[in-house]
């Protein structure tokens, strides 16, 4: 592409402006070639607007349009698909191909970390993408890298999944917000995978991680994300973008166990009238329609919290966190007798992890790989997990295979050295699994009360039966609740 052609693009205006600002700042002149190379980089970056929205550069767009149409036509005719009819695919490719052409013409490399997964798990989509890219190669006169083909395969794969999916969703389906790191491609393919594999989930939108907090505004029940999120407002699961079978079954289990989804959702309309009546009893409402809309919006935001309020009150139902509105578990909810073992034998800290972690695996609460993650964390971060003399608090991250909030406890016949300068040897080990940053906290606080109570710890260390330990724990909780001033107000 020549300098003249580059200078006619919109991006060139931006790079001229950038160059002007920079040369003012640095007191250095920018030559035409420098500006052109800035333009190239701008062109090589994803454009977030649809090309058709900007009628001014129609020549440029018609070139891209022709390529995209050619690509889809050649795949359709060779493989018997009907990709041309898929408007979402067309729009997605229009967005993708324009910067891609610039990348090809100017040898700007891209990285595609998913490429091996795409090739092995979606060979058909990959093959289709190879054919589509043949058209691109002919049109641009350059060769297309495997990484670039992989991105096209993501778009095509998503379209193929869409065609397999029945567009009918049941009324009581779960509304999911799909979150991905930044791009559109991975989120879209995850959406298609979810909709193809899990028929009770409806993806309401795909956003990047910066917009994950929109979940409430969009009315999402859950977030399904390709990356871990800080403090998500609704329950969040992290999965691989291609949703491999293991992640799929994990997601299914997680959804089944997710308490807030056993719906008794407060529908916005059921509360709107009483709230309106309350307002009207005290004020004159000038614009009832506008106020109703505001009430609906407010109820929508409140919904995730209201669901859980209504579900409370059952005898064994976990209690409600006062400030987060999320479900929290007390220690006695999670540390059940089957997750306790007395007088275990272990020779080193890895064996301790195996013993205490195995209880969670056997109870079906974590995947076996969680044990490896706990050991890896111990190896990486050192023995700090021995947080109290003789007591190790072992865990890994939610995404390492935790199916539900859980906790297990073992006592050891003989103390094991963890390498802690002060708190060795360890003779009590706790393993726990968290699903987010909140739901396990109350159980952890219960546990801390026991650790701080020397008397209970002494009895616990001498207990010979799991049931005995369970009883001690329960009594310690009651004791600390009865005498909060004595035990402190943790």
């Amino acid at each position: 592409m020549q300098l003249k052609q580059l200078s006619e693009t919109t991006e060139n205006d931006y790079s001229m402006e950038l160059a002007r600002l920079l040369s003012n700042q640095l007191r250095l002149p920018f030559c035409e070639e420098e500006i052109a190379s800035i333009t190239l980089f701008l062109l090589g970056v994803y454009s977030q607007t649809l090309p058709s929205a900007d009628p001014s550069d129609s020549d440029d767009n018609s070139f891209v349009k022709n390529i995209v149409t050619d690509m889809l036509t050649s795949v359709d005719s060779a493989m018997g698909t009907s990709l041309r009819k898929d408007k979402e695919l067309y729009a997605g490719l229009m967005l993708h191909v324009k910067p891609m052409v610039y990348r090809l013409l100017h040898d700007i490399p891209v990285q595609n970390y998913l490429i091996e997964d795409i090739k092995t798990q979606h060979p058909f989509a990959y093959y289709a993408a190879v054919m589509a890219c043949n058209c691109l190669e002919r049109a641009s006169g350059t060769s297309v890298s495997v990484a670039e083909i992989g991105f096209i395969a993501l778009h095509i794969g998503a379209a193929l999944e869409r065609q397999r999916t029945q567009p009918q969703f049941p009324e009581d389906c779960i509304r999911a917000l799909v979150v991905c790191a930044g791009g559109i491609g991975t989120g879209k393919i995850l959406q298609s995978r979810i909709e193809a594999e899990l028929d009770n989930i409806r993806v309401i939108s795909v956003v990047n991680s910066l917009r994950a907090q929109d979940a409430v505004r969009l009315g999402a029940d859950i977030i399904i994300s390709t990356i871990a999120l800080q403090d998500p407002l609704v329950p969040c699961a992290v999965v691989h973008p291609l949703l491999p079978p293991a992640d799929k079954s994990r997601l299914r289990d997680w959804l089944r166990d997710l308490p807030s989804l056993h719906k008794s959702v407060v529908s916005a309309s059921s509360l709107r009238e009483p709230i309106m009546a309350l307002i009207q009893s005290r004020y004159h409402v000038a614009k009832p329609d506008s106020v109703n809309k505001l009430i609906d919006a407010m109820l929508l935001q409140l919904n995730p919290f209201l669901v859980q309020q209504i579900q409370g009150g059952h005898e064994h139902e976990p209690t409600i966190g006062s400030n987060t509105g999320k479900k929290v578990y007390r220690m006695t909810d999670v540390l059940t007798t089957d997750c306790i073992l007395a007088n275990c034998e272990a020779h080193n800290r890895e064996e301790v992890v195996d013993r205490v972690g195995q209880l969670l695996v056997e109870a079906g609460k974590v995947e076996p790989r969680y044990l490896d993650a706990m050991k890896a964390s111990l190896a990486k971060n050192g023995p700090y997990m021995v947080i109290v003399p003789g007591v190790a608090l072992l865990h890994a991250r939610p995404e390492d295979g935790v199916k539900q909030v859980c906790m297990s406890l073992i006592t050891l016949k003989e103390g094991v050295a963890f390498g802690h300068p002060d708190n060795d040897p360890v003779d009590v080990a706790i393993a726990f699994g968290a699903v987010d940053q909140h739901q396990h906290l109350e159980a952890l606080a219960d546990l801390m009360r026991i650790f701080a109570d020397d008397e209970s710890m002494k009895v616990l260390r001498h207990a010979n039966e799991a049931s005995e330990i369970a009883k001690i724990l329960e009594q310690a909780i009651v004791k600390s609740t009865d005498h909060p001033e004595k035990e402190g107000t943790l």
Binding site: Y384, I387, A434, L444, A452, G488, T489
Partner: protein
């Protein structure tokens, strides 16, 4: 006043630390916010006091704030003594 409890993953030990710190602060009548962080994210956090274990303390040496290393995470006496050594004195 911002206190940051730091551990390997920001899920377990630092949460325990936070609970102990909050309970001690309440006892002392000191008003401070206590947040948790994992060792990877701590670089982006600002704090007036950091509370953690000795192995993480060495990694945080570049932070120009007092770093308290705690042996027993549930020992309120230890926490109280160490906090008092760095808390501003005018409240007393």
């Amino acid at each position: 006043m911002k206190i940051l409890a730091v551990c390997g993953m920001g899920l377990g030990s630092s949460m325990v630390l936070r609970m102990t710190i909050e309970s001690v602060l309440k006892e002392l009548g000191v008003n401070a916010s206590v947040r948790t962080s994992d060792i990877g994210a701590v670089k982006a956090e600002s704090a007036d006091i950091i509370v953690t274990s000795s192995e993480f303390a060495t990694l945080l040496a570049d932070k120009k704030v007092p770093i308290l290393t705690i042996k027993n995470y549930v020992d309120k006496q230890e926490m109280k003594e160490k906090l008092l050594s760095v808390l501003p004195k005018e409240g007393e």
